[in-house]
Amino acid sequence: MSRARDTADAETDAEPLIAAEDVEVHFEKEQGILELFDDPDVVKAVDGISVAIEENDVLALVGESGCGKTTLGKTIIGLQQPTGGAIKYRGRDIWETKAGNTDLSFKDVRSSLQIIHQDPGSSLNPNRRIVETLAEPIRLTHPDITAGERRERIHSLLERVGMTPAHDFASRYPHQLSGGEKQRVALARALLMNPDVILADEAISALDVSLRVEMMDLMLDLQSEFNTSFVFVSHDLSNARYFAEHGDGRVGVMYLGNLVEVGPPERLIADPQHPYTEVLRWATPNLSLDATEASDPPMRKIDIPDPVNPPSGCRFHTRCPEARETCTRLQPELEEFSDLEASSDRADSSRSHRVACFRSEPDHQYWESSAIED
């Protein structure tokens, strides 16, 4: 808990770097000619999420495929326009900025929010040498820099991400690099713009298990060195824990477009409050011998429901082992979970632990309602 935060504490009144306010992203399914007059099917990929990202912060989003974590990540860095709510960069709405309605230049916003894609193989142009791939963004943003200076910047950055000798790597094509090296190039490309936030979208999932820690360590080094915040999207709770704990950040658990639990990694993992977090914890492989033996999953169904037609009430109620009748009708809000230990640093919002489940409220009507029969 040593790194970061001191700046954020000093200016608690200041606007957060990025603020998502009740963000909604709804996709309409494409329609055939025969369905022209029907209501379109709508997938609510992100449905009413509010979250803030400070400077030098880490937000790790976890959840299974199709839960909306990537869509939320892309919305946060302004690549996906929300259909509802607002996304603000230093207090100004990003999409209003793009329309030219604020005092910020959209070009600055765009270059300060960067992304690293999941598959490094397809995010680098196979026909270009690494140096050409990396020169392009500098040429666009700094047209007055000479070729020599450009080359120098590229080489020093490649060295910084551990690719030495830089001149050798710079003249290679992507197919001459390993998966881990390609991902380092993608990271270097994102860093060229001195960004405030980098979205790492499953950036380590395609790497070998043994290389993941190394890549995460590299990103964390750069976080402290360049003061960059990360939004780290992953389906693996143990990676999210590693990254968020070292980066002094939070883990957010998503389910079908909703944020169901947010908190500091160690607390969220040691003491999960939402039954779905419990499921993710179960799904995370564990090496200690008494835990390796696969036990039954703490959920009632394997498959995630169709997002076109999500369950009523709490969306997890169709799989939740604790679901009762109330859960089919009412949707729980994401609320501060209070326990005695946590009260000490309650003021710091980043250390708060929030959960969207009736079970965290001791006097909710949930406790009176009847269990669901399958």
């Binding site: 299974e64 495929s65 199709g66 390993s178 998966g179 070998d208 298990v209 043994s210 290389l211 993941r212 820690v213 190394e214 995460m216 360590d217 389906h235 693996d236 709770l237 143990s238 990676n239 824990r241 590693y242 704990e245 070292h246 993992i269 499921v279 993710l280 914890r281 179960w282 799904a283 995370t284 492989p285 564990n286 090496l287 200690s288 011998l289 008494d290 835990a291 390796t292 033996e293 696969a294 039954d296 999953p297 394997i302 498959d303 995630i304």
Partner: protein, 360 residues
């Protein structure tokens, strides 16, 4: 080569009733210049689940293809792959004619590949894949489809819906399960799975693993599960084998490989794995890179990354040593490795000692 073969036979002794035996299997490209599988010897016991672990480029997919004599050209497979349909019969699948090989694949040993999306034909319904497979093997289609429905429901799929869908209409997890059902259609003795869950999220991976365990019990099938994800397969496997740089370096019962691994590489691999219970400070990446298939070093291939490497290691390739009962390792310094490289996760070493050697 002869010395290698002799010493590697020792790693065989562990298995009493092998269903498949691989002896001195090598796969070479470029007229023997490039080794992508280097003199691998091991056996698979009837009705066990064997987990094969290795980093990408360690030769593990070549090992899977070798079990079906399906090395893509121009690769060349040498050595022996022996199949025992029952305890008293032995056939060498590398001697098979094309017809025999066609009969052997899928009916005796079937395979699930990584990425279900590329295994199904996108223009055919899932059901048609099942019918085609039955027709190609001259099986009765109605009976076969009846069986297909049963396996599909065992995998928590709705048979009618799945069979009548095109692959893209199913989620990744459903496609992968449909593919597993297809691989079991002809009731094979052995199911070889190469990264069967790699493209899926963790929750679906674990769910599929649980189902595989039930499937194994119900259909009496031997499973070989090949992956780079050590903690994942650790929850399923009875026995594990670790590959490094195209060679097998350690094999033994699951609990011993996890709890009391003897090879420095296995121990480093365990320590490099993000683990939900391990103290964060102790997760360490493995320094260095694995060697390329050309110019494999003369001695132990792990020597230049190994903290315990001595002159012996760079000179002589280590032979297989018996650590205990069924646990074998190819390392000159395995006793030292167990003393000096501590396992970082809860339950390493100590817990391993108390439960080690036990079989489920």
């Amino acid at each position: 080569m002869t010395t290698t073969s002799e010493r590697l036979h020792r790693s065989n002794d562990a298995v009493e009733d092998p269903i498949l035996e691989v002896k001195n299997a090598s796969v070479t490209f470029d007229d023997g210049e490039t080794y992508v599988l280097d003199d691998v010897t091991f056996s698979i016991e009837r009705n066990e689940i064997l987990g094969v672990v290795g980093e990408s480029g360690s030769g593990k997919s070549m090992l899977a293809s070798a079990l079906l004599d399906a090395i893509p050209a121009p690769g060349h497979l040498s050595g022996e792959v022996l199949y025992h349909p029952d305890q008293h019969t032995t056939v060498d699948i590398l001697e098979f004619t094309d017809d025999e090989l066609m009969e052997y694949r899928w009916a005796d040993v079937s395979m699930v590949f990584q990425g279900a999306m590329s295994s199904f034909n996108p223009t055919m319904k899932v059901g048609a894949h099942f019918q085609d497979t039955l027709k190609a093997h001259n099986e009765s289609v109605p009976d076969g489809m009846e069986f297909a429905r049963e396996i599909l429901s065992d995998l928590y799929l709705d048979p009618e819906r799945v069979l009548d869908s095109y692959p893209h209409e199913l989620s990744g997890g459903m496609q992968q399960r449909a593919l597993i059902a297809l691989s079991l259609l002809l009731e094979p003795e052995v199911l070889v799975m190469d990264e069967p869950t790699a493209a899926l999220d963790l929750l679906m991976q674990r769910s599929i693993l649980l189902l595989l365990e039930d499937i194994k019990e119900k259909y009496d099938v031997t499973m070989v599960f090949i992956t780079h994800d050590l903690p994942l397969v650790a929850s399923l496997a009875d026995r594990m084998a670790v590959m490094y740089a195209f060679e097998l370096i350690e094999a033994g019962p699951r609990d011993r490989i996890i709890g009391e691994s003897a090879h420095p590489y296995t121990r480093a691999l365990l320590n490099s794995t993000p683990n939900i219970d391990a103290p964060l400070e102790e997760m360490q990446p493995i320094p260095g890179k694995s060697p390329a298939p050309v110019n494999v070093p003369t001695g132990c291939s792990y020597a230049d990354r190994c903290p315990l490497a001595t002159e012996t290691c760079t000179r002589d390739a280590p032979s297989f040593d018996q650590v205990e009962d069924e646990h074998t390792v190819a390392c000159h310094h395995w006793q030292q490795a167990r003393e000096e490289i501590a396992l970082s996760f809860a339950g390493g070493d100590e817990a391993g000692r108390s439960t080690g050697g036990e079989r489920r």
